[in-house]
Symmetry: C2
DNA sequence: GAACAATAACCAAGCGCTTGCTTGCTTAAT
DNA sequence: ATTAAGCAAGCAAGCGCTTGGTTATTGTTC
């Protein structure tokens, strides 16, 4: 029973569907605690069918991470391409990143810690994807430093920033009083040490 | 074959030994990927013996988290009790926290994300232990705000700070060029927006 | 102070269940 | 006729945990 066009009019691309469901479950329950049956059930398949699209559970994780990170990277680049001011650029990067982190349903950057379940070769490929993801960040931070708005653009600064943002997925609740926009502002303010004497007007 | 005093002169407290080994393995491999046989083997027991000390694998995790957090809390309180200046206090909190995080071998604050494997009642108890852990932090942040060294001491500030620190366990390498002390300085500087015009000399 | 009972702290063995994955078959589209 | 995409069934390994015994230690009684 293949599902092509004009079946039920639903998603004809079951591979991508599997990837999204797997990523979501991996984030929610963790890689080891998610069974391949969970993933199959989430897309309405029988327990053995995902293995037609992916050779192993590990390969599913690897693909979810790399394709998710690359999609996020493309989103970042598209969001800042028409922005010149480094400060506005950073603000957009932060807001977009928090969007995929807290509002999306794949949230691939959070899977970084699950890479320990993979072998060395796969981890190397994931590290490369993560490096790509970090490029626009590092460029923006260096521009901010050159503009005198940032004391240092050394690697630890970028990593501490990622820490602030990524860890928020452990405590942020969308139904609380803090909006994602406010959270983005708070993070940017902490990094750029809040221009108290606002020079907007 | 009980092990009491004067057996081999080794650790007579096997319960604590189990807790430490379990915490270490849970941090390294994750809760679900760590088998009870792994834990038993790590302390030289047979596969069923840990269940004499703990009723279930979940209870082992719960005990490791709560007792680990409370030990860390005691360490924090002891470290800052003789310090008056809020800025020095914060610096000590950060350094001590990074110590248990990066140099210890239990690293209980990192297990927070594994609480999803437990039931509601256990999660409530763990949340209480985590609240206790955060008390000295919140107090110090408020003192800093009153001293005018911090723009805001609202909860998100504390949470973003924890993010910076805890996430460092994903990327920090002890054999790199960055020492834990330097990392602590960088984190504090980012929070207090780095007094560029140093007033040390 | 020797004999005995009680207990703490394990080990050896294994039970029932779940896991990732395979195999052979079926069916709709090409 | 071939292939893409799945299903039905199940296998071997590993999982958390239990059960029944074993042994060094500790208290108790005579």
């Amino acid at each position: 029973m293949p599902r092509r066009k004009s079946d039920t009019g639903l998603e004809p691309n079951r591979r991508a569907e599997l990837l999204r469901a797997a990523a979501k479950l991996f984030v929610e329950k963790g890689f080891a605690a998610t069974t391949t049956r969970d993933i199959a059930e989430a897309v309405g398949m029988r327990s053995g069918s995902p293995f037609y699209h992916f050779r192993s559970k590990q390969e599913l994780l690897k693909a979810a991470m790399i394709e998710g990170l690359d999609a996020g990277h493309a989103q970042l680049v598209a969001a800042i391409e028409s922005i010149a001011d480094p400060e506005a650029k950073l603000r957009t990067l932060v807001r977009t990143h928090l969007g995929t982190l807290l509002e999306g349903d794949c949230r691939s950057p959070l899977l970084v810690s699950e890479a320990r379940a993979l072998d060395d070769k796969a981890r190397t490929e994931i590290a490369a994807a993560f490096d790509r993801y970090q490029v626009p960040w590092q460029e923006t931070l260096e521009a901010l430093q050159q503009a005198g708005k940032l004391a240092s653009a050394a690697p630890p600064v970028r990593l501490l920033l990622f820490g602030m943002l990524n860890w928020s997925s452990h405590w942020y609740r969308p139904d609380g009083t803090l909006s994602v926009d406010e959270l983005a502002d708070a993070a940017v303010a902490m990094l750029l040490h809040a221009p108290k004497n606002g020079k907007k007007p």
